[in-house]
């Protein structure tokens, strides 16, 4: 059997890839996908811990996280569409109206 630390390690790796992606990527949609990757890395942690402990609440938590992520995606994509309509660009470097 693969030990728990492998799952947790994979989850940490995915989370880090997502976190770095948010910082270095320039397209809003890619950044958004990186955030989704981070959330799913956390879900992997929950599921593996829950199955290792034989305790169900961690897996229930994953359902809540998925629901919230879906709601967030709906709002986020709407926001991205509204800025795209006004600017016709998804590059975050060009969103600099508010710099001092």
């Amino acid at each position: 059997m693969i030990s728990l630390s492998w799952y947790l390690g994979l989850s940490a790796l995915l989370f880090t890839i997502g976190a770095i992606g948010v910082i270095i990527k320039r397209n809003v949609i890619t950044i958004f996908l990186c955030i989704e990757l981070m959330l799913n890395a956390v879900n992997l942690s929950f599921v593996s811990l829950s199955s290792y402990f034989k305790e169900i609440s961690g897996q229930l938590f994953v359902f809540i996280v998925m629901t919230v992520a879906a709601a967030e995606a709906a709002v986020g994509l709407a926001i991205i569409i509204s800025i795209f309509r006004n600017r016709a660009s998804l590059n975050v470097d060009e969103a600099d109206n508010l710099k001092m």
């Binding site: 956390v42 961690g58 967030e72 926001i79 975050v92």
Partner: protein, 509 residues
């Protein structure tokens, strides 16, 4: 934990608010368009009913319901009443604004109420799952509100930035929750692993933790998540952009309601759970203490937050951006109370900050006019005698933010510094913290006074006509002014109640 503990009374305030919000959306959809006064009146009634429902829970000391998800204690009541006050004030200052800006009315009030529901849940949460849900309900509603002026590029940009950094920080918080869930494992207990804060505290206090590394990692990740939400340095960079671009009443909501609710959850986890359960850390032979480590990190964070907030605020030319940095600095002062482990001083700080800051933003909203056009500090030059009432009220709020005696700002600062000084007996770093805090609040006088000097002692460069103030906004302003003075001159009643509440919760543990 075994029984389900379903109690409709325990979640009555949240239920009322969400039902009222859904009702407003439904009326708006079926009647084609809802009159702003109707929507405003319904929301106001809903908020007052939720406040009454919250008061009906008075006197319960730590009863939990829904399998320990919701807890009813004085902590919840105080913070809950602060959120209701925030929502009522925001409603009053934006009732006319929403009409003038020609924005859709139904959704605006519904979203405001949904955001308040999330805040109430955060203060009532006794489980990390509930904190996460409350936080997300608030965040999703405020993401939309930030971008509510859809044709304004600044508003769009503010919404995108808030959305990306908000979800980014939520992911960190969530990872922290997962780590704490793993750390809580104990094979002989039921349930074997948990996210319930009461059980988590017991397990940390008795030292029966599955892995200290996970406990530390979980606490650190949650610290990052909460740090983002309260805009504490070094996680504050999003807030000036978001505050500047969001419509002014929403900026007021973000800087008071969202911040206070994040502080409520922060205090629930870090003060009422971690700080009350000290334990020696002994894994891999490293001596140390979980509680001291967290306290020291919080002290460093408070120092950084205050200093960065105040010093960067000095060079700002836009008043909303300046108040955003001022808001960062104030999060730093409140963190002083949090680091000292005194949640009652944080609650009082938030109450004071809420009335002052919403008052200040109400005036900025009136002066900015339609489309948030006049928000530069140079726009305020010489308006003092053309619009004496507004300028005087704004001066009062700014002086109170700086901490002039006899106003709420002074009392709340005094209180957090007092509790930090008391905590200095155990940890001498608190003395430095208090000294740095006092120096910082002296520095902050410079940029608050700059606006007052511009208003009264310089010649106007632009044409200025005294704006018309609607009745609802005037009511909100009067509440804010009276609140600022009341909390500064006669804080006795509230302070006594808070002190009793703190002792009661501390005794129960």
């Amino acid at each position: 934990m075994e029984k389900l503990g379903i109690s409709y009374q325990a979640i009555l305030p949240e239920t009322i608010l969400s039902l009222v919000a859904i009702a407003i959306m439904m009326i708006d959809a079926f009647a084609r368009r809802i009159e702003r006064k109707v929507a405003g009146a319904i929301s106001l009634i809903g908020l007052l009913a939720a406040g009454a429902a919250l008061l009906s829970l008075w006197g319960k000391n730590g009863e939990t319901s829904y399998s320990g998800m919701i807890v009813t204690d004085d902590f919840r009541l105080f913070f809950g009443l602060i959120f209701i006050l925030v929502a009522i004030l925001i409603l009053l200052i934006s009732l006319r604004w929403v009409e003038d800006e020609k924005l859709p009315k139904g959704e605006y009030f519904a979203l405001l109420l949904f955001a308040t529901t999330g805040m109430l849940l955060m203060s009532a949460a006794n489980d990390l799952v509930m904190i996460f849900l409350g936080l997300e309900i608030t965040s999703i509603a405020t993401y939309v509100l930030c971008g509510y002026r859809r044709n304004d590029l600044r508003s769009n940009e503010s919404a995108v930035k808030y959305f990306i950094l908000g979800s980014y920080s939520t992911a960190f918080l969530l990872y922290g929750i997962a780590m704490l869930y793993g750390a809580s494992y104990r094979a002989t207990a039921t349930p074997v692993a948990t996210t319930n804060l009461t059980l988590l505290k017991e397990r940390i206090a008795t030292g029966q933790i599955y892995s200290y590394e996970m406990l530390f990692a979980g606490a650190a990740l949650m610290l990052v998540g909460f740090g983002f939400k309260i805009a504490a340095a070094p996680f504050h960079v999003w807030s000036p952009d978001v505050y500047e671009g969001a419509p002014t009443p929403i900026t007021a909501l973000l800087s008071t309601g969202s911040k206070a609710s994040a502080f409520a959850a922060f205090a629930r986890v870090f003060v009422l759970t971690f700080a009350l359960a000290p334990v020696a850390m002994n894994s891999s032979g490293v001596p140390g203490n979980f509680q001291t480590t967290i306290t020291n990190v919080l002290i460093v964070m408070a120092i950084l937050t205050m200093t960065i907030g105040n010093f960067v605020a000095m060079v700002q030319t836009n008043i909303k951006r300046m108040l955003a940095y001022s808001s960062i600095a104030h999060a730093g002062y409140a963190l002083v109370g949090l680091a000292a482990g005194d949640w009652s001083s944080v609650a009082f700080y938030m109450l004071g900050y809420v009335v002052i800051n919403i008052g200040a933003f109400a005036i900025i909203e009136v002066i900015a006019r339609r489309g948030d056009k006049r928000t530069e500090i140079s726009d305020y030059a010489g308006i003092g005698f053309k619009s004496l009432g507004l300028a005087t009220a704004l001066s009062l709020f700014l002086l109170s933010l700086a901490g002039i005696p006899l106003t709420a700002g002074f009392m709340s600062k005094l209180l957090v510094f007092k509790s930090a000084w008391a905590a200095g007996a155990n940890n001498k770093f608190f003395y430095y913290l208090v000294v740095i805090g006092v120096i910082n609040s002296a520095v902050s006088w410079y940029y608050y006074l700059r606006v007052i000097v511009a208003m009264f002692f310089s010649d106007s460069t632009v044409e200025f006509k005294a704006p018309i103030i609607s009745r609802s906004l005037a009511t909100g302003l009067i509440i804010a002014i009276l609140g600022t003075l009341y909390l500064g001159i006669l804080p006795g009643n509230i302070l006594n109640a808070l002190e009793r509440a703190r002792d009661r919760i501390a005794m129960k543990k």
